[in-house]
Amino acid sequence: MIYEVWVLTWRELKKWWGRRGVFIVSLVTPLAWLGLFGKSINFTKIFSPSTFALSLPPQLQPYAPYIQKVMENASQTALVKLFGTTDYFSFLTTGMLVVFAFFQSAFGGVNIVFEKRLGSMNRLRMTPAPRFSIFLAKIVGTLIRIFFYETVLLVIALALGFKPDVTLLGFILSGVAIALLAIGFISLFEGIGFNVDNQEIMFSILNLINLPLMFASPVLFPLKQMPDWLQEVAKFNPLTYTADIVRYNMLGLHTVNYVEAWAILVGISAVLTIIGAWASLRVLENY
C-alpha cells in the first residue's frame, strides 16, 4: 500500500514537472493578488498624515507636528480597529497562504475528470494496486505541489515586506492547519471529480464552492467588516478557522478561541475527507 502510494505520487509529480509553464501560471494568480490588494491599496498611505499636513492653512502650520501626531495616532487606531494590525499587507499575505492552498486543492479533482476521459485512470484501475492508494496518492501529490507553491509565495511575500512575528513551532502549526484544510478539500474535490464526467460541470461546481467560501471568510477582509449574515455563514467555513490559526501563529491576531478553531478545523477536515474517500472509492471500484 505504501509502495503503491509512493509509485502513484511519483507519477503525479513527474507529470507536473513535465508540464511547461505550469509553474509560472500557477504563481501569477497569487502574485497578482498580493500586488493588487496588498501593495496598491495601501491604507497607511491613504491616511498619511504628512500629505495631510501639507494641505493645512498657513495659520495652522505651526501646529502641524502636533496635528500630525494626533492624525497618525488616529489612523493607526483606525487600522488596528479595522484589521487588528497596522500592516494590511501582512494581514493579506497570511490570508493568501490559506486561500491559495484552498484553490490549489481543487486541481486534484480536475485532474481526475481529465484522467477518466483520457483513459489513464482506467489504466490504473486495471492494476492490482489498492483502490485506496489511487485516492491517497492524489492527496499526497497535490499536497506536495501546494507546499512547493506556498514556499515560493512566502519567499516572495517576505521580499515584498511581509513581517511575520513567528516562532518555529508557530510556523509548523500554521503549515499543519493549511495541510488539514487542503487534505479535506482535495478529498472532497476528488470525490466530485470521480462522480463528474465533464470538465465544464466540474469547473462550475468548483466556482460554486470556491468563490463563496473565499468571500465568506476573513482571508481578504476582516469578519467585522462584513454584514451580520455573512459573519454567520463564515462560522461554518473552515477557511475562517485556518486563517485564524495562521494569523494567531504568524501575527499574534485572532478572533476565535484558538483551541476551538483547531477542533473545528480538524472536525470539518475529517468529515470532508471521509465524504471524499467514500465518493471516490464507490466509483473507483465500479464505474
Partner: protein
C-alpha cells in the same frame, strides 16, 4: 490431452439502465488459445471484456479467470491479467518507458527489477527508439504497441485485447497480429475482440460470434464456416451450351447447383470430399476454370443474424457521443 479451462464464463450479464448490453452469456476459453469475440459495434464485446478484466461489475452472473472470480476475487484477477482496452490509456504526458515502468511497479515489482521488466516489454514491442519520448508524440501504431507493452510487463497469464487494430493501416495491423501470435507462442491465453472477420479468422483458435449481447455461435473458424453448408465451387465452361448440359449432369449427384452470370455455382458441404466426384462428372466437359470459395466468417455472421458485420458501423450512437464529448473538451 483435454484442453484446460482458463476462463469460465457463467451467465454473465450487464445492464445499462434499460439496455441489456450483455445477456446471460456462457462460454469457456482454453488455456493457451487465442479466443475471439467477433461482432459488430454495439454487440457487447467491450462490455464483456470490461467485466472479465474487472473494469466493470457484472449486473448478474460471474466468470472465473484462472480460478478467480471476477466478482469476488477482483484483485487476484488483476494480478494475472493484462488488458489492452479499446480506448488508449497511456498517460501522454509521460514517456513510453515511464508508462511501462509505472505498470511494472503497480504490479509489485521494485527497483532494478521493475526497470528491467519495463525495458524487456519495450523491446518485445519494438519501441526502444521511442521509449524516452513522451507519448503525445507517438503515432497510432506506436501507441497500440505501447498499450500492449504496458499490458504484458508483468507476464500475465491471460491477455485481453479489445479491437487492437481498429483504425490502423495494413502494415501496423500485420505487426500487431505478429505480436499476438508471439504472445500465444509463449503460452499466454489471448482473448481478442474484433469486428474484422479476417482478423478473427487469421488469429483465432476459436471464435465466439456475438450480436446484441448474445453469443450466436462458437467454434473454430473452420467449424463455423462448415456450418453454412460448406464451400462453393465456381465453374467456367467453354460455351453456354456446355453450361446447360453440365448443370443437368451435375444436378444428378449434387443438390445445390445454380447458374450465376454464366458460371456454375455448386454448393457443397466440403469441397475436398466433393472434388473427386465432381471431376468425374465433368470429365467430358471443357472446363476452363474451377475456383473453390471457402465460406468466410462474414457469411457465417450474415447467415446467423440476417445482417452484416459492418452495417452498424456507420452510426454508433455511443461512439458518436464519446466523439462529441472529446470535441467539446
Amino acid at each position: 490431452m483435454p484442453a484446460q479451462v482458463s476462463i469460465d464464463v457463467r451467465g454473465l450479464t450487464k445492464r445499462y439502465g434499460r439496455l441489456l448490453a450483455v445477456d446471460h452469456i456462457s462460454f469457456q476459453v482454453y488455456r493457451g488459445e487465442v479466443f475471439s469475440l467477433l461482432g459488430p459495434n454495439g454487440a457487447g464485446k467491450t462490455t464483456t471484456v470490461s467485466m472479465l478484466s474487472t473494469l466493470r461489475m457484472p449486473t448478474e452472473g460471474d466468470a472465473l479467470v484462472e480460478g478467480y472470480s471476477i466478482v469476488r476475487d477482483r484483485t487476484a484477477v488483476r494480478r494475472i491479467i493484462g488488458v489492452v482496452p479499446q480506448d488508449l490509456t497511456a498517460d501522454d504526458e509521460l514517456t513510453g518507458f515511464d508508462n511501462v515502468l509505472l505498470m511494472a511497479r503497480l504490479h509489485g515489482y521494485r527497483g532494478k527489477e521493475a526497470e528491467e521488466r519495463a525495458k524487456e516489454a519495450i523491446r518485445f514491442m519494438e519501441l526502444e527508439d521511442a521509449a524516452n519520448r513522451r507519448v503525445m508524440y507517438y503515432s497510432g501504431g506506436m501507441r497500440r504497441r505501447l498499450e500492449i507493452a504496458m499490458s504484458v510487463v508483468h507476464d500475465p497469464q491471460v491477455v485481453f485485447l479489445d479491437e487492437p487494430t481498429v483504425g490502423l493501416d495494413v502494415q501496423s495491423r500485420r505487426h500487431i497480429w505478429d505480436l499476438i501470435r508471439r504472445l500465444k507462442k509463449v503460452g499466454v491465453t489471448v482473448v481478442l475482440t474484433t469486428h474484422y472477420m479476417e482478423e478473427a479468422d487469421e488469429l483465432s483458435d476459436r471464435v465466439a460470434i456475438m450480436d446484441h449481447g448474445h453469443i450466436v455461435a462458437l467454434g473454430s473458424p473452420d467449424e463455423l464456416k462448415s456450418r453454412i453448408k460448406g464451400d462453393r465451387i465456381y465453374l467456367k465452361l467453354g460455351s453456354p451450351d456446355e453450361v446447360r448440359r453440365a448443370l443437368e449432369a451435375i444436378s444428378v449427384e449434387f443438390k445445390d447447383v445454380s447458374e450465376v452470370d454464366g458460371q456454375l455455382v455448386v454448393k457443397v458441404p466440403s469441397s475436398a470430399d466433393a472434388m473427386p466426384q465432381l471431376i468425374k462428372l465433368l470429365s467430358s466437359f471443357d472446363v476452363r476454370e474451377l475456383r473453390v470459395v471457402r465460406p468466410n466468417l462474414e457469411e457465417v455472421f450474415l447467415e446467423l443474424t440476417g445482417h452484416g458485420l459492418r452495417d452498424e458501423e456507420s452510426f454508433d450512437t455511443f461512439k458518436f457521443r464519446r466523439l462529441m464529448g472529446a470535441m467539446r473538451s
